[in-house]
Symmetry: C2
Subunit: 208 residues, 2 copies
């Protein structure tokens, strides 16, 4: 599931950056597989809860998996949206506002990769590094937003393309947000610390 | 939690429609309470899984509650975003593109209300009616998008305000998406039918 979603994010971004319609098409083609896996993983997790009645660390692992599964599926949806923007941009005259989509994309993809690696290797330091990157993505998004607003004010015939780029930036920001959610789940899983909403507190002891 | 989130959605939209800064401020003020409740409900659900090792219907109820809790918190975030747009719009000259935010908002709010009522009363028909409304919201969003694009092309000095309205419409669409997620969880809970991704299949029997 992680590999499919990482590939979808990568291909959708390359679809935009290289104006490569084929890569974008592949993202659309693989969406059904991601959706199917989401259902299978959910069923498996609920089945484990029912059949094994797991406690403490195992229970935290399974509930984390249910949440991460959901975040991954949403990232898949966002990749589809980016791929659709790519396919529209291929058909329209190229515009060159000074926003750095490859830079934002590289940051967001790095966060996704690190969050998933942190989950697999139970690495809380790596998970914390993901949280630290979220502000950088937000700042780049805000700067791009201002840049694209000025661009539209001065190039009214190119507003449709500028709006598509705005959508791509916003979707990359949302992918980064999902990576942040996963990193928070990893911290809860590894350390039993709830960092959501900057509310650092110990988890209640979940033992039977 | 539901009541707080419904109120937040309502106030944020009224903040935009009535240009009422005070209502928007109240949304920002209540965000912390929603975030705190999300954590408490999650802890309670995981505690129940650990201490009670519930089976079948109870297990489905608790896993549905974990997901719905997450959707509610996201709706709270989206309300905050709408409230922020409202506060910015209050300070800027009024623009009047022909998009019907009250109509889209009423549809989205109706979906939220019905999805939560369906959960409380385990009403699968009501849940299905939410799924039916999702396409209507998507169509209105697309029409608003086209309308705002033309508006910006013809009123380049008012692009910042038009972009804010676009963000409001997009956030309302996302609130409707979360209501749809909740309705899907209700159908799974009541009927054991998984309707995600239009993939109607029976749930595996989760019994210990």
């Amino acid at each position: 599931m992680s590999a499919l979603v990482e590939t979808a994010v990568y291909r959708s971004v390359q679809g935009v950056v290289e104006k490569n319609e084929e890569l974008a098409q592949q993202v659309l083609k693989n969406e059904a597989r991601i959706n199917q896996l989401e259902i299978e993983i959910d069923d498996m997790a609920i089945g484990l809860l029912a059949l094994q009645a797991p406690l403490a660390a195992d229970l935290r692992l399974i509930t984390a998996a249910i949440k991460i599964n959901n975040d991954l599926e949403r990232m898949g949806d966002l990749s589809v949206s980016i791929a659709e923007s790519a396919m529209a941009l291929v058909r329209e005259p190229v515009i060159r506002p000074s926003i750095d989509i490859p830079h934002i994309a590289a940051l967001a993809q790095g966060m996704v990769r690190k969050a998933l690696d942190a989950f697999v290797s139970r690495d809380s330091e790596l998970a914390r590094s993901v949280l630290a990157s979220d502000d950088a993505v937000d700042n780049l998004r805000t700067a791009s937003y201002h840049e694209l607003t000025s661009f539209m004010e001065n190039n009214s015939s190119q507003i449709p393309q500028a709006l598509r780029l705005l959508t791509v930036v916003r979707n990359l920001e949302r992918i980064a947000d999902h990576a942040t959610n996963i990193a928070e789940d990893v911290l809860f899983l590894v350390k039993g610390i709830d960092v959501r909403h900057h509310n650092e507190q110990r988890a209640p002891v979940a033992s039977g």
